[in-house]
Symmetry: C2
Subunit: 276 residues, 2 copies
DNA sequence: AATTAAGTTCCAAATAATGGAATAACGCCG
DNA sequence: CGGCGTTATTCCATTATTTGGAACTTAATT
């Protein structure tokens, strides 16, 4: 049911500088396409399935898949079906555990959750997607992976639009040019024009809303966050059901969200020093 | 504080079988060594650091790192330091979300948590490490990534020893021959002999204990779990502080843990059919 | 047993990776 | 500002790996 994300994330390494230069990553690039293919599929794929999707010669594909299985990036079950490898979990767990941005943001996310009682997210822009780095849910032990690590479109999430408002005009234009819109709800932006208009507004106001644009019945208010070296461009948000979060309430919450965002950025300055 | 894990997990792809058939994964293998290097480091690494650790020519290394950054496997910050890439999170989130074994086990883990009130883990053997696939903690919203995805040594965890008890003698011998022991506590096995003796016992009894072997003050009881095609060999465990979990209590809990393990395996049979 | 489909192995040709050295950028200090 | 040590990046002939078509093996079907 989340299969549509494939589109979105697949475009993640579009280096959209106008001319669409095919990626220059040699052998690795080809293997990553395969990894993308398998991880984005709805279930395990057999050799022939991948062969059809990848459009490569049999011999080549076979060696590539074998190497990836050998390295633990993919797993091959008893029925000859390929699935994402669990070694990826180990890599990701380490990537996440030591991420400076997340570590610094953590306490401020918790504060914001306490203050509002609603779910708080931290996300960063990667390519055209928002990758969620953290989530604090007020209620019972949440299945964290359910959100952390997930990639969502930038054009229909609060964090995404907040992030876009930070981009310089030229980078924003490039990104929008490469963007393809999928309508998730009646409120989803489906054209660069309306999106750009809202982003301009967000850049002025300093906060963004998601007016049930990604999921019906879910609203949020978000504020942009960035690191000084611009490695991280993203945002934090408070998310909840529309029946509980009126637009008026969200407007009030813009203040604490912006304050938390400011504290996180201040924390980065202190921690990482004034370099660059 | 968990930095010591680096050592241990590093051994996951140690091909240290005396003479070491060098891995036959071509270019990919070389890149994975680098990814391992960066993800296992204590912090971001500069080019020169990696150069020293990898022992490769400058030109080669530079191109390799560039490709990996381009693909999102690594990230390069403003100070020229390499860190694990966030794209790994997206891969891992997908790998985890659709893992059949975990999906089937989930409700039984929750049951077991309810019955005992203590923390429940699900892990599988990958190489010489146990990778934790799931965790159910009774108390407050836990930072899930803190455990899920983490790789721990097989020789000093309940799940690990339970998993080892499932291996046929020859595979077990191979694995033990390659194993290098790190003493974490006074109770840690540090020789293949004593470990093998305990594993034999576990194979008879059908359950394993961790008697504060990995972390002082932490005990657990575990039972082996495997899929019919042997793709997954692992276990589930109940873990908690020694002051609350006497060895006597753990012995009593062996029964419900084994029952839950049985239910999970039954679930796999039904779900995946009697193939292979 | 015959037939089709699915997966695996082989090897000359094409391509990408290699690695030593030259070049460029940075950071520090006088 | 200019020089010096450090660090990072680019270049290109050589070398090793990947490529891809076809032959081969294995498994499933009738």
């Amino acid at each position: 049911m989340l299969a549509f994300l494939s589109r979105v994330d697949g475009a993640m390494n579009s280096n959209g500088d106008g001319m669409a230069q095919a990626r220059e990553t040699g052998t690795l690039g080809k293997l990553m396409v395969l990894l993308d293919l398998v991880t984005h599929a709805d279930g395990p794929l057999r050799f022939t399935d991948i062969l059809a999707l990848a459009g490569q010669p049999r011999g080549t594909l076979h060696r590539q898949l074998s190497h990836m299985v050998e390295e633990g990036l993919l797993e091959l079950d008893g029925d000859g079906r390929y699935a994402p490898g669990l070694r990826l979990l180990d890599f990701a767990a380490r990537s996440w555990a030591r991420n400076e941005f997340r570590l610094i943001a953590e306490p401020h996310l918790a504060d914001l959750q306490q203050a509002t009682g609603e779910t708080v997210h931290l996300g960063v822009l990667r390519g055209q997607s928002i990758i969620y780095l953290d989530k604090v849910d007020g209620r019972q032990p949440v299945r964290m992976y359910s959100q952390i690590g997930n990639a969502s479109p930038c054009y229909c999430t609060g964090v995404g639009k907040a992030a876009l408002s930070l981009l310089p005009a030229d980078r924003l234009a490039d990104l929008l040019a490469d963007l393809s819109f999928t309508r998730f709800t009646a409120a989803t932006h489906v054209s660069a024009e309306t999106l750009l208009a809202e982003i301009r507004e967000i850049a002025v106001e300093g906060y963004a809303f998601d007016r049930e644009e990604h999921e019906a019945g879910i609203r949020c208010v978000a504020a942009p966050v960035w690191s000084e070296d611009r490695t991280f461009i993203g945002g934090i948000s408070i998310t909840g059901p529309a029946y509980r979060l009126s637009m008026e309430l969200l407007r009030q919450w813009a203040v604490p969200v912006q304050r938390a965002a400011g504290q996180i950025m201040e924390g980065m300055r202190i921690r990482l020093g004034p370099r660059r």
